[in-house]
Symmetry: C2
Subunit: 318 residues, 2 copies
């Protein structure tokens, strides 16, 4: 049996069984005085994540961002970054340095520091990022804190990255850039936490995947209202041009790295106002409840069937 036969989720299940540890959140956290230290790791490989049509600098920026995004999803502030490489010996040095200039741009923007790494020979270009962050114990955002009857909201808009992917797959090179252009929502994560949110996760795999995971973890279900989704203009465009359902692009693909979060209804209006005052956009997209995950669209309630991206499965070969 090989990994292809199993799929990523099954692999992770087996590892959890073996190690007996459960890490439910985007980062692991441990207590130090009045704070939690956060630590997370994300890998990208040239094969799977770096289209030839993007600059290595953009790929490097993307790489650092997606690691920081896991800290942002916990309401934390990233402090340190490490990068380990496994690379072919014929890897182009300019490619390598451009990639690192992209990382540097991101760690500089978010005031973090590169503090280590390792380089070894391999048969691919694999970059493993490690982000270390910090959050005051009272302000951590956790998946287990998604509770019933709360407002569900997202930062900014959804669907731009998926739209980029579909453009790219249909021969429009500039789509690849749209796919990889992300920002870790660090200040947003800190701000929502300050104004009462207790639960969040990042939308790396899309809304459907996220709420599926949360439902499994907490039992809390989601009602998502399609007409409330803040859909990115590019998603509308691509949906129309390529005849791809808007729902697929905005909810079932991911790559947005926006934050999905919940907050008690009594705190929502204040949170929204405070965020807007600071030029952060947040949109209510539904509510949590005791039932299944439901999409409300054109007045009808439809049970959400999640069929998102999974590594090590046939779907990733498309």
């Amino acid at each position: 049996m090989n990994l292809f036969d199993l799929g990523e989720r099954k692999i992770i299940e087996e590892l959890k069984k073996l190690y007996g540890t459960i890490v439910d959140d985007d980062s692991y956290y441990f207590a130090e005085g009045k704070d939690y230290i956060l630590i997370t790791t994300d890998v990208i490989t040239k094969k799977t994540h770096i289209p030839d049509d993007v600059s290595p600098e953009l790929a490097g920026y993307f790489f650092a961002s997606l690691n920081f995004s896991d800290i942002a999803a916990m309401g934390g502030r990233p402090k340190y970054f490490l990068t380990s490489y496994s690379m072919r010996i014929d890897t182009d040095f300019d490619f390598f340095m451009e990639f690192n200039r992209g990382i540097k741009k991101c760690i500089k923007k978010y005031k973090t520091k590169m503090v280590g790494g390792d380089t070894k020979e391999g048969d691919d270009f694999t970059a493993t990022g490690i982000a270390v962050g910090k959050v005051n114990k009272n302000f951590i955002l956790l998946r287990k804190n998604f509770k019933q009857d709360q407002v569900v909201a997202v930062t900014n808009s959804l669907g731009k990255n998926a739209a980029g992917y579909y453009l790219w797959k249909n021969g429009m090179k500039e789509g690849a850039e749209k796919l990889l252009e992300i920002e870790p929502r660090i200040e947003e994560g800190i701000a929502i936490s300050k104004h009462g949110a207790k639960a969040a996760m990042d939308l790396s795999d899309g809304v459907y995947s996220s709420i599926d995971q949360i439902k499994k973890l907490t039992g809390t279900g989601f009602k998502i209202y399609f007409d409330k989704i803040p859909i990115h203009p590019l998603a509308f465009e691509v949906s129309g041009d390529l005849k791809i359902p808007l729902e697929e692009i905005s909810l079932n693909f991911g790559g947005d790295y926006e934050l999905l979060f919940s907050v008690d209804r009594s705190k929502w209006q204040n949170l929204k106002e405070k965020m807007e005052k600071n030029n952060f956009k947040v949109s209510e997209i539904g509510e949590t409840w005791k039932g299944e995950n439901i999409l409300v669209k054109e007045g009808k309630e439809v049970k959400i069937k999640y069929h998102g991206y999974e590594h090590f499965t046939r779907s990733t070969l498309l």
Copy 2:
């Protein structure tokens, strides 16, 4: 230009220039209350580090050990471990799980905890380890603390792993196991620090490489007395059988992951006695001084020309 043309040290130099950060030690450390938090990362690839002649379990144990070794070299205790994988989709699941059982054995032995990771598709089997540890601020071991006129010592004995390598390269399969059998010297690191040592590093690349790096960093030179080296019995055997200089095997290869450390002469005797009382073996192998790195052998002093292993160079293709 590709990485092959540059070699690992040049690559790291370029990265240090780009990021403006200098991490001189085996781990990065940052202050939290009365402690330092330690963090380190080490990569292995199937291609470069996992001979077909060892069990995946041994490879996994080796992999976790070498990460913990970087914490041990700082006088710290490892607390958490994370592993990220990039793997071919046709990676055998049994291989993968055996490898993880090896990791588990090691993290269990050293009372640490697996707290995360990532799995992605790539063209190789790349495992990136991340170890997080802790040390009281007064007991950290740092490379910059190698000072002149101290006793230089090592834990246990040297040359077993190199001997294993040469056996393996000469067709004796069991050599591969000897090459990979290591233990992180965690208790030893903590104990030497408790008894007055302030400086250490692990012998991943051998004594010559280590003292070369320390000399460049601190200006402190080393006089190593060949007849004081605690050479492992297997190194004697292999040296005799395969006609490889004992010096090459015991000092210029590495893979031992023993600790090299220094301590003021006034504290050496006490340290040694206290260590022995706890069944730890330490041996004086020389002293630090203001001059060059010197090997004293058969009464003659010879300047040490370091020519050790470096990734991404022609030598690694041998």
